[in-house]
Amino acid sequence: MKKVLPGLLLLAMLPLQVFAWNWRTRISVSLEDQPLYVYCDHLEKTYGIPFSYSRDVVNLNRRMTLRVRDMPLRQVLDMLFTDNGIQYRRIGGLLVLAAKQPFQRTISGYVEDASTGEKLIGATVYAPHLKAGTTTNAYGFYSFTALRDTLSLFVSYTGYNAVQVPLRDRDSRQLNFKLHPSNTLKEVEITEALPRLQDQTQMSKVNVNVSQTKTMPRILGEADVLKTIQAMPGVSGGMEGTSGIHVRGGSPDQNLILLDGTPVYNSTHLFGVFSVFNPDAIKNVDLYKGAFPARYGGRLSSVVDISMKDGDMYNHHGELSIGLLASRMTAEGPIVKGKTSYILSARRTYADLIMQEVANKELKLGEEGEFWAYFYDANLKINHIFSPKDRIYLSAYGGEDNLTMHRNESFDSLQGAPKRYHEEMRFRLGWGNQAYALRWNHIFNPQLFSNLTLNYSQFRFNTDYKYKYMALDTPRIRENDNAFGRYYSKVDNAGAKIDFDYRPNPNHVIRFGGQGTWHIFRPGIAAFNNVSDDQQLADTTYNDQSHGGVELSLYFENDWKIRDSMHLNLGVHASAFLVEGRAYTSIQPRLGFRYMLPRRWALKMSYTVMTQYIHLLTNTAIFLPTDLWVAATDKVPPMHSSQLALGLAKTTKDNRYELSLEGYYKRMDNVIQYQEQSADFNFATKSWEDLVVVGRGWSYGTEVLLQKKQDRFKGWIGYTLAWSRRAFPNINQGTVFPYKCDRRHELEVVLTHQLGKRWEVSAQWQYASGLPLTLPVASYEQVTEPSPHLPGSINDQDPIDVQRDQYTVRMNDVHRLDLGATYTKQRKKARYILSFGLYNTYNRKNPFFYYYKRNPELQRRELTMLSVLPVLPSVSWAVRF
């Protein structure tokens, strides 16, 4: 009996023990950011609630924060499991967990402008209650995989009214969002929620606001996206007034400039004064200074990814603009409404049209003479929607700088002496780019997007002349010439590229793809033919050679959300360059890391390696269209760079301000420079390798960017503290010396303010430390005669200046204030825009160039500073309809 009684008591207590909980059991729990299995352990230990589940089926690793007190068990279980795709049931005394099948779905599609159908790049698609979201890619496509019962999506983009769209069903599907511009006239009411800086793993990237570019002060009325890029920290513009960009101590040839995915080799008009990109045709500009995504490769220092507008799908529009320098036109509209659209824009300078007569007279071109000096560029894009899953884009760009002189005239004197002759001469000098891209977007499934690109681009420099001369006093004087000459250089590349964008779940964004590019280099070819007095004098072709090379690359990138506070971007870019029997290969890791600190500051780090297989031969102080592109060789191998960056970033809670601080260290190997004493250089003959030296470069610095992107008052303040160094075996005795665009401090302040409905004013102030300068260290007498008894030169002969070490001194600091104002008037069907600009408002004499000038009074040569670009007013007028 003594043994039976305890046994009965035990049996009686068992049900009490097993059924010690029910759905109304009051639960208290307070845990922060813990996985679900910790909650299960807590319930089991504290309340005796046993769980049963298979780890293979039920994922209890999801983290949650839950603080409840005396809450019924069912409610607690709902809070824990329902949103995480887990269902629960009571079986006996056990709480059995199982996965809901399926518990996720994928919403994908495009985000576009409601009125034009223009795809919006970088728009945010966000599920508020999940606090998770995504952004559209370069084609306006998004894919968001979330819990099946996601109730709504919030879609936003700068300058557009955000929309919140309820999701009534629970299936995966394609959903295109149309956003309405928030501005009527220029009254921008931004309700944007671009991904906050702390929500982006990407660092060292700047998105250039093209509309703000148009309201910023301009030189001679020409808005210029590259000049806007120059105003960003980490970017130096080189010589004043030029559009060259030096990013984090790199040279302009190290910038990969892409127009709709196609490289543009020379990005400037007028020897670097203006960029070739017409802002009317541009939709989006992204600048990467470091932390290069794996999909980019081929250059060392930066990527400028420019997307052209697609064209209005629903209505026809146009714009005409007249400025001091150039006139522009843009037309866009549907070819088939809602299916096919086009945009065509073009601009041309017209100084030559005005000065034609003066030039003819001054240059003695004759009545039939011609004088042309202009640049033009044109962009065309056609985009067609085949089906909800297939779109095709055809982009074309062509631009050229051109100088043509044609003389056809008879003369009756030469240098004041009687002489009758007829001269016909045609001279042309020009350079330009062409870029074409055909792209096909295909959505394989809601999670997998692809883009196939076929592209071709070319940069060409050409100069040629025809010269006919005939003495008219024949047969007494028998003189006639018939000469022809041409010099050109060219680089072509044709390529195919496939990109995939795969978003399996909100924790992973995977991009992968490959590219093949065929390069052809023709680095300086000359051909001459000269017949004098019916006698063939010369028929020469020089350096008529071309070099082909194939560049292949593969990339993979996973933007991985490890947990809410930690993201990792793992990428690799592998490439090979096959040229004339040689092969160079490179594996380039691309790593990014983001960790959320208290107060929503993001700590970001990146490490990227880049390889560049092509070199630009230049012996000029700035980069000119005459510079020659050549492929790497064994003696002059490909360039490599590795860059480490560390930064902090934050967007304020109200999205008004963005602040980023970044420090970077970049090392560059196999950079090249012309050797001292090398001759002038027109041809990259086989000996070009002997004229350059191969060396190393380093750059490091800190950048601060504070931006205000909303409201009527916008702008940014950027500050850069930087060092950029180079070292070559034969230059400056092999010691390290500053790079020619090494500026220690740069400060940029750009402000725009909307005044009422019609006026917008802007100001830009720039301060920069002086550039390095090479000055002679001695002068001495020259000799050109073997004997003092020979007659000397007609001209004064200056002494020889000894150029020793490069860049040992510095120019003066520069600063400048530019102002702009835009007046906009909206009529029923047209908008009129009048823009004023004042460049260098307080007429600062900034140093442009230093040289020695003979001072006859002092009987010596003085070091003289030359300044250009004084205060320059400008005005332009445009009408949009």
């Binding site: 001679l220 007034g241 007028l270 100084a351 030469l414 240098q415 009687p418 002489k419 001279f427 100069t463 003495a471 004087i477 010439d481 000469a483 000459g485 000359a526 001459f528 000269n530 004098s532 010369a538 020469t540 000029t620 102080a621 700035i622 001292e676 004493q677 001759a679 027109n682 000055l775 002679p776 260290v777 001695a778 002068s779 001495y780 020259q782 050109t784 073997p786 004997s787 003092p788 007659p791 000397g792 030169s793 007609i794 200056d798 020889i800 000894v802 150029q803 020793r804 001194v809 004499k845 040289y851 020695y852 003979r854 040569r861 070091l863 003289t864 030359l866 300044s867 250009v868 004084p870």
Partner: protein, 275 residues
């Protein structure tokens, strides 16, 4: 636009502290075949100087192979030269060593190039073309071409009296912008890259109309590597002086521990009577 920018340009003296390497010996001599050596010795000066003190009491040792050639200091046209007693002959290596008080000793050496071959010069009254055949020999050659108005000496020979400007056939030096910009030069430097081992007809367009009975002298000099590098880099430095777009050029020197040039040239002269 560029013209407008240039017009708007403003110049003013700059105040930037500059380094100076200190005084050095400057050796200047283009050693010409069949001529005595004229060696000019001066001191370098801080950058910007236009006058340079002569070194009159230098220790100068000129050798042709192992033979020492005596030199005398002479003043010619107001300038001091060390002049060799003997003429220079082909096939020898010439070397000069110079010492001067308070300055690092210097030395330089070079040989002589081969002399150009010219034939059938032609110039016509009322015209502005001078023509001559130049026979290039196989192998790398470099030439300097100059044109003079000649003066007749009492002995009936002609001597150069005045430089004449001209422009050269662009087929060989790429300077076809000269045709457009109406530019004429005092000299041309051309390598034989495009006519190695061939005979070419050289055509010079003179700036001035040719006058009857005038005699022109065409000077074509063969250059050694050193004299070519010196003259070419000097041409570039002069051409690029004040050029905003180009980095300054370093002029070649073969004078160790000093500056200047000591290099060989061989000149062929041809008389061209204007017919």
């Amino acid at each position: 636009m560029i013209t407008a920018l240039a017009l708007a340009a403003c110049e003013r003296p700059a105040n930037i502290p500059m380094e100076y390497e200190g005084d050095r010996i400057v050796v200047n001599s283009l050693v010409q075949e069949d001529s005595v050596v004229y060696l000019r010795l001066t001191r370098s000066q801080p950058p910007g100087a236009i006058s340079f003190p002569e070194i009159a009491n230098a220790g100068v040792r000129l050798t042709a192979g192992n033979t020492v050639l005596p030199m005398q200091f002479k003043t010619i046209g107001g300038k001091g030269y060390y002049v060799s007693d003997a003429k220079v002959t082909a096939g020898m290596r010439y070397k000069v060593e110079v010492t001067a008080t308070g300055l690092p000793a210097v030395e330089a050496a070079d040989t002589l190039p081969r002399r150009p071959l010219l034939r059938e010069p032609f110039a016509q009254e009322g015209g502005n073309r001078v023509k001559v055949y130049l026979s290039d020999l196989p192998g790398g050659d470099r030439y300097r071409i100059r044109l003079y108005k000649a003066r007749k000496l009492d002995n009936g020979s002609f001597t150069p009296a005045e430089r004449r400007q001209y422009r050269f056939d662009p087929s060989y030096n790429n300077s076809f912008t000269d045709l457009v910009t109406e530019t004429y030069h005092e000299y041309s430097l051309i390598p034989d890259d495009r006519f190695d081992g061939k005979e070419i007809l050289v055509v010079l367009q003179t700036r001035q109309v040719l006058v009857k009975n005038e005699v022109l002298l065409l000077e074509v000099s063969g250059l050694t590597s050193a004299s070519w590098q010196y003259l070419k880099s000097l041409q570039l430095q002069e051409a690029n002086r004040g050029n905003l777009l180009v980095d300054p050029t370093q002029v070649f020197t073969n004078v160790g521990k000093g500056y200047g040039i000591f290099a060989g040239i061989s000149t062929a002269w041809v008389e061209i009577p204007v017919k």
